[in-house]
Symmetry: C2
Subunit: 305 residues, 2 copies
Amino acid sequence: MSLVITGTVAFDAIETPFGKTDKIVGGAATYAGLAASYFYEKVKIVGVVGDDFQEKDINVLRSHGIDVEGLQVKEGEKSFFWAGKYHIDMNSRDTLVTELNVLADFDPLIPESYQDCEYLLLGNLTPQIQQTTIQRIKEKPKLIVLDTMNFWMDVALSDLLDTLKMVDVLTINDAEARQLSGEYSLVNAARKILTMGPKYLIIKKGEHGALLFGDDQIFSAPALPLADVFDPTGAGDTFAGGFIGYLARVGTINFNNMKNAIIYGSALASFCVEKFGTEGLKDLSEEKIAARVREFIKLSSFVIE
Amino acid sequence: MSLVITGTVAFDAIETPFGKTDKIVGGAATYAGLAASYFYEKVKIVGVVGDDFQEKDINVLRSHGIDVEGLQVKEGEKSFFWAGKYHIDMNSRDTLVTELNVLADFDPLIPESYQDCEYLLLGNLTPQIQQTTIQRIKEKPKLIVLDTMNFWMDVALSDLLDTLKMVDVLTINDAEARQLSGEYSLVNAARKILTMGPKYLIIKKGEHGALLFGDDQIFSAPALPLADVFDPTGAGDTFAGGFIGYLARVGTINFNNMKNAIIYGSALASFCVEKFGTEGLKDLSEEKIAARVREFIKLSSFVIE
């Protein structure tokens, strides 16, 4: 059995108040895959890159035991490239460059060896590609998690609504939950969205943590207050990867395990933002992750008899 | 021994997307006093009103056992009046009218019977009035909590900094913590603010909960996600009143009790915003509050072995 992640594998150039990078390996599937690899052995990527993506770049994934058979390499074409600059508050950014390149006509081919997919994470891509990915996996996975963004609500809402009917968990931010539902209260927004298909909704609130809705329950997860956030790029993808990776490890889908999965996803995201690009996800260990999770426990626990 | 609360006692006229009120009884000391009265018997108010403030208005406080000997009534003058209109998101509002009236030359007189003050809450007022209140209480209280806002950072920073040296706990919101410290990261902001006098800092984040810093620890408290917020007026004052009222009841100041005090303060604030004005604080009970606190526990608890 395996955990399949569809998403971008790309080059990013990032500028923050603390420094800037040249083109470095990024993309939703990269961040999510690295995060998931700390929890589950059989992580498999579906994506596309150009021939500018070198062996050393692909090895960022391979070195974490990630299967890249489903990563198509298009000869004579270039990889998806994004350049962005973060403002001082790190919560807003300007996109300087978006070159779709190979992503423009990406067809998510699923290798035969991926048909054992038990957990499926659909990283932020067009709803159409997300839907095609689901349709090409012959046996319905045990859990499908979909990440999306406001852009697709603006330009492909009908496709998105169709795709939502096919998934178990949706992850979006608070502004997107409000946009998708037309409700300002997040409680009312969640109620509406949970009638659109997903059984669970995760609302990501960045430095304010995350909310999980489902099974007529709500869970509020804290974010770890950090002294220094160097680079928020990939935090949401890392969260999603850690979340589904943890669930794949425990193997049972219920609200309590989802709560813990959110804590583990948040812990991985907190490592991610402490360094540039994927740097913070490279050398983690069970021990480091467990210590970080203990910080979340300490941060949010209280005892009232 | 007693809990003394200095702050505005006023008339408000409130308009939200859900309705509007005529002049109703409001003010920081009113909200804080009502909240504190559910935890502690000897709550005493220092404030000032005009002769437009009728017996029935004062009875809003008296009916909760609140001592109003320190509430000055100025004959021939009018009470402080604020009118505001909330936007659809309930997080922003326009002030339509601010009439200082009796507040313009408010001198916080402390009745002799208030000199048993053990807990002191300085609601949002000029730092000068807050300081005078502290100085007029002969024996230093066991705990002084100060609430303030960005306005005083803009126009009376030097006074505010002097006053901060005299208090134990400061409550402000996240934007104010950033303004006061000049630090964007709330961790760094807290580090700086805790060198300015207070031993504890509470950062109020509205619908995102609150953070407590002190004793080299951090606590992140959730906010209860509510389907319907009718009127946020007084939520911060209610929080502060519940917070100090709970601490007065338990009688021991330490980080763990502060954490619980934040949960109780947040629970009271959640009742406050569900109705207009002080309506939501009028008919609470131990049972209702305990049930609401259980919702906070359920909302934020998770078990990772």
